[in-house]
């Protein structure tokens, strides 16, 4: 039983980070109808910036236990800075074919890779034992680093906060209306340009915060974007393109399938995830929570 909980917690931790990136992807697609391949680059950027911010903070005399708020602030800050100019660039392809949009966001992936290499160097960056300042939670022989538990809690809180924002606030309703019918929203006086800029920046922040949160347990590396995008797209297909609830359930399915595959058939980690993807595509092409295209 303890082994099962260990596996479950491993899967849920992975899902928690995956959810943040997939949620950003879903939000942007849901409103702007753009499949943003660069979401993995935002994740990597958040990780690199998070490492730098924590090192700065500690060098400036901040108490080590403050590194979690530093990471969150760093993720939000860098996402807020880069989101608007990239959205401005994407405006040039909003009304063009999807292939143009994919090519442009793929170009961004490659450009970000070189920019990260230029600013942070080629070597993977780590935070050493920083995450250990929070200690470990234990229940019997099940041990969970407190930091991992905090990341899971933060992701759940963000999921509910995002849901409440979209469902219960005026701006959330405007977003949903714009997602449903852009022209009608414009006719009703909605400033769609502002909505798009806000949504894209929010999606970017979700990615950068995800990257910043994962880095104390992992490493910021140039390989991060591709590693994550492959799984984030599996989440999107399983959950349904554009659905936030789908992102949450999809991330959980991918995280837990990955953990089970690693435990029982280590070589089949990616195959196990994509078997689910194919099954969903066959049985429910729009994804578990996606809307079928009329």
């Amino acid at each position: 039983m303890n082994a099962f909980f260990d596996l479950l917690l491993g899967g849920v931790f992975h899902a928690a980070v995956l959810f943040l990136v997939a949620a950003g992807l879903q939000l942007v697609f849901g409103v702007q109808k753009i499949v943003n391949l660069a979401c993995g680059s935002f994740y990597a950027l958040g990780a690199y910036f998070g490492v730098t911010a924590v090192k700065w903070a500690i060098a400036a005399g901040a108490a080590p236990y403050l590194f979690l708020p530093v990471l969150i602030v760093a993720g939000i800050a860098i996402g807020s800075i880069i989101g608007p100019p990239i959205e401005a660039l994407l405006r040039t392809v909003y009304r063009r074919d999807e292939a143009f949009q994919l090519l442009l966001t793929f170009a961004l992936v490659l450009m970000f890779q070189d920019a990260l290499r230029f600013f942070f160097g080629a070597n993977p960056q780590q935070l050493g034992d920083t995450a250990m300042v929070y200690g470990t939670l234990s229940a019997g022989s099940v041990l969970v680093p407190t930091y991992n538990a905090l990341v899971i809690i933060a992701s759940v809180a963000i999921a509910f906060g995002l849901g409440a924002f979209l469902q219960r606030t005026r701006f959330g309703r405007i977003l949903r209306a714009t997602a449903e019918n852009r022209e009608m929203s414009e006719a009703m006086g909605v400033n769609v340009r502002r909505v798009y800029a806000t949504v894209f920046t929010l999606g970017t922040i979700l990615g950068t915060v995800g990257g910043a949160l994962v880095v104390p347990t992992a490493a910021a590396s140039l390989d991060m974007p591709v590693e994550l995008v492959v799984e984030a797209f599996a989440v999107v297909v399983i959950g349904g393109l554009g659905s936030m609830r789908g992102a949450l359930i999809g991330a959980l399915i991918v995280g837990i399938m990955r953990a089970l595959a690693i435990r029982y058939y280590a070589e089949l980690e990616m195959l196990a995830i994509y078997v689910v993807v194919i099954a969903v595509l066959i049985a429910r092409p729009a994804g578990l929570f996606g809307k079928p295209v009329e």
Binding site: D6, P124, T136, S221, D223, I262
Partner: protein, 426 residues
């Protein structure tokens, strides 16, 4: 107009034919004046970036010393450094170094994927090439049994063989179940297979209860650690060696896998030694430092000087890639100078190659030689970790030293048969 177009087409065709034939043209004889041009191909980015960087520093140290001493047979060295990336692009850079820069020798290469592809290309181009750490083995099978222009480092399995021997030496009778977490390519798979074969050879009864194969570049190992923990192994053998090793160590520590009930052997831990902090890396583990252990108490004056300079210049401590790069440069130097002395004139490339076969040198980590089959023999260091030092990472408390003639198969032998029949001293 028609005629001039034909002329242009002819010219282009002729140039194309010449370019196509270039690989088959003879590699230029070593020029007798000016500096010796040596091309280096090493990774400066990606997951092997830190490793390539350390190798480049070792190479630079060798060049500075050689040039300060008057160069190689009176000629200074000039380095031309290119990036090692994927096999195709790296071979293009080899071609550029040989054909365009007209280098006298090419050194470098860390990835076996690259060296496997580059070996035949270097032979075809007749380019004297010395691999730092890349092999020409496909798995454990030699793909270039009789190379003429290519020289390579020791077999990749050396560290796994030595770590396995230390496991038997120190822990025989103290474990029954074993698990492995090794990188998912031929290096990791061969290492774990070699470990099991050596346990069998020395009559250590064991049961493999878990095998984990994370892909290179995996940065979340939480589920891998949970799977290992669920299997409750007495001993974990891991040849992780890139940035994933500190991640594994931290994750395993946080999950309680390092509570003292499980033993660990990491044959290639030396690549990441400074990133493995004491706070999450316990004492009592087997760590491999390959051909350079920076904190060796009875190290040579050369090693001490190198480590001291490295520390003051880069605020870091070197690992074995620096030694591999230094070794390659010194083997080339020894070959050129021996051939020059024998001929009493500047030697041809074939003269140098002949002189490099069997040459013995003192590398940073200790004595080494280039075997006649163009495979290096070097001194290896492994041992048990301790926190009793002045650093924030573990070093070796108990150090074992072995020469690679005890750790790698002899020329032409099959690796698995050699393991079965070799007279290896524990």
């Amino acid at each position: 107009m028609q005629r001039s177009r034909r002329k242009i087409l002819k010219a282009v065709g002729g140039a194309g034919a010449m370019l196509a034939a270039q690989p088959y043209l003879s590699f230029p004889a070593i020029a007798q004046a000016g500096p010796l041009r040596i091309g280096i191909i090493a990774p400066k980015s990606g997951i092997a970036g830190t490793i390539g960087e350390c190798g480049l520093r070792g190479c630079q140290f060798a060049v500075e010393r050689i040039n300060a001493g008057g160069g190689i047979a009176g000629r200074k060295i000039e380095l031309i450094v290119e990036e090692e990336t994927n096999p195709k692009d790296s071979i293009e850079r080899l071609r550029k170094l040989v054909l365009q820069d007209k280098v006298d020798c090419v050194q470098g290469i860390i990835s076996s994927g690259v060296s496997l592809a580059m070996g035949p290309a270097a032979e075809e181009m007749k380019a004297l090439t010395i691999f730092w750490d890349g092999t020409t083995q496909d798995g454990v099978k030699e793909t270039m049994p009789n190379p003429h222009y290519v020289f390579r480092s020791t077999d990749n399995e050396c560290e796994a063989v030595m770590a396995s021997l230390l496991v038997v030496k120190h822990w025989k009778g103290q474990f029954k179940t074993v698990a492995g977490i090794n990188p998912d390519y031929s290096y990791g798979r061969n290492n774990f297979a070699a470990f099991q074969a050596l346990l069998k050879k020395f009559g250590v009864q064991h049961e493999v209860v878990a095998e984990q194969w994370p892909k290179v570049g995996t940065t979340d190992l939480t589920s891998h650690v949970a799977a290992l923990k669920a299997a409750k192994p007495d001993l974990v053998f891991s040849s992780l060696l890139f940035a994933d090793l500190p991640i594994f160590m931290r994750t395993a520590h946080g999950a309680g896998l390092m509570d003292g009930r499980t033993k660990f052997a990491f044959p290639a831990a030396g690549f990441q030694h400074t990133a493995l902090k004491k706070s999450f890396t316990p004492e009592g583990m087997i760590f491999g430092h390959n051909t350079l252990y920076f904190d060796l108490p009875n190290a040579s004056a050369l090693q001490k000087q190198f480590v001291q300079e490295y520390e003051s210049k880069y605020k870091d401590y070197p690992h074995w890639e620096a030694d591999r790069a230094y070794f390659a440069m010194q083997v080339y130097k020894a070959g050129v100078e021996a051939a020059y002395k024998a001929k009493n004139a500047w030697p041809s490339q074939d003269d140098v190659i002949g002189a490099m076969e069997g040459v013995k040198i003192d590398s940073l980590g200790g004595p080494g030689q280039m075997r006649k089959d163009h495979i290096a023999d070097q001194t290896f260091y492994q041992g048990i970790t301790t926190h009793n030092n002045r650093y924030d990472f573990p070093t070796l408390g108990q150090i074992d030293t072995m020469y690679s003639d005890q750790l790698q198969k002899p020329p032409g032998a099959d690796f698995w048969k050699w393991i079965e029949t070799a007279q290896i001293k524990l």
